[in-house]
């Protein structure tokens, strides 16, 4: 009779012990690290925090309403975004962030740079994680406002639209973020609704559709030093309007994927590496497919 190997049992034991027994950072969120436009969150022990990230977006393709995919003759082939954010805590449960993007669009040997839309967010932790009830999630509500001041595809001046840095419309946002982070294996779900406001371009009042964005995240925390998270996003936007008339077939659907690694370089400094792919899987419609790599440094002040 062949002796039974103890290796699989040992391996399972080690994995279970790692999953259940490792002390880990409980605080995070389902949407941070998903490659979104407001990536900074503050923990209760962080009075002020800065974020400086640089991301490179490439392999742009447009997924049209009928599902066909094509490279565009206009717009950037490559986009570099420098994202600077500052956050301040008002109490263990409240913090606010301000995010400013600076975008460089490149096509062939030409490039254009300018400010993107500024984002302001307020976060309220309704239910913090507690060591007394580790199975309950951290529940965080947030509200935000995105300016629509940056030049967009509605008012570009560059022939190849390289000076389009924003969506062209201001937007109010509100959402909820649930995060189970008490064990080494972590998971969460975030939902954010965006309400864009109408703006006039070329004499016509235009309004993008309302958007809901769902983010599902799973992660693993390697003690306090490193975290790995991955997940999927589903962004669905209703039909656009021009002069109060709905534009047929203009609704958008974007299924994205992301993978993020956080490394605590020192007690006050974190480094984050994110890969995100928009319109990555499933049915997408009127969406932009692109690969984004981001390197960011976060510093507690």
């Amino acid at each position: 009779m062949r002796p039974q190997s103890t290796m699989p049992t040992l391996l399972v034991g080690v994995l279970v012990a790692l999953a259940l027994g490792t002390a880990s950072e409980t605080l995070a969120c389902a949407s941070c690290g998903s490659g979104g436009d407001s990536p900074l969150v503050l923990y209760p022990n962080e009075p002020y925090k800065t974020y400086l990230g640089i991301s490179q977006q490439s392999h742009f393709e447009t997924v049209y309403a009928d599902g066909t995919v094509a490279r565009d003759n206009a717009g950037p082939e490559r986009r570099t975004t420098v994202l600077a954010a500052f956050g301040a805590s008002f109490s263990p449960d409240w913090f606010a962030t301000l995010t400013v993007p600076y975008i460089t669009n490149v096509r062939a040997d030409r490039d254009q740079s300018g400010l993107g839309d500024v984002l302001a967010y307020v976060h309220w932790t309704v239910h913090p994680t507690s060591m007394l009830a580790p199975s309950l999630p951290q529940v965080q509500l947030f509200a935000g406002y995105k300016t629509g001041a940056a030049r967009s595809v509605y008012d570009y001046e560059d022939d190849a639209q390289l000076d389009a840095y924003g969506t062209g419309f201001p937007e109010a946002r509100a959402g909820v973020d649930l995060w189970w982070g008490s064990t080494a294996f972590q998971y969460g779900l975030a939902e954010v609704a965006s309400l864009p406001f109408a703006k006039s371009y070329s004499g016509a009042s235009r309004t993008p559709g309302r958007e809901t964005r769902t983010t599902a995240t799973v992660g693993y925390s390697f003690g306090e030093k490193a975290k790995l998270r991955g997940g999927a996003t589903l962004a669905a936007r209703s039909q656009r309007m021009a002069d109060k008339q709905r534009i047929q077939d203009s609704e958008e659907l974007d299924h994205g994927l992301f993978l993020t690694g956080d490394w605590q370089a020192s007690e006050r400094n974190d480094v984050r590496l994110t890969y995100a792919r928009s319109a990555a899987f499933g049915r997408n419609k009127n969406a932009t497919r692109a690969d984004t790599m981001t390197v960011a440094v976060m510093r507690v002040l």
Binding site: T26, Y43, P44, N45, D93, M131, L132, E224, E267
Partner: protein, 120 residues
Amino acid sequence: MQRWKVRAGALALMLGSVPAAAQCPRLAPKDLPALATARGGQLELVFFASWCTACKAHLTAHHSGHTVLIGSFDKAERLEQVIRVLKPNAPCYLDDGITAALGIASLPKVVAWPLPSKPR
């Protein structure tokens, strides 16, 4: 009648509708020398918060007479609830500027006080 009042009070306390008396007094940096003298000259400061699951092991461990627990970066009621439930064998205090004075930025954190002097 008196017995029912006591039971109702205990139930309300359990449900959290009546705040329990504060268990953890505030502790400022200026209070540390006197506290150290009272506890044999040396302190082991254990910083914790209710949201810090990694802190739980520090609270439930058996402590020496030099250990004091300092709740920080958190609301007083949450810190005191943790103390009420876990019943650690060391006194607890609420941070009143000690984390800022010692430059504590993350939890859990265990610090010896007085801080060892730097070699000249």
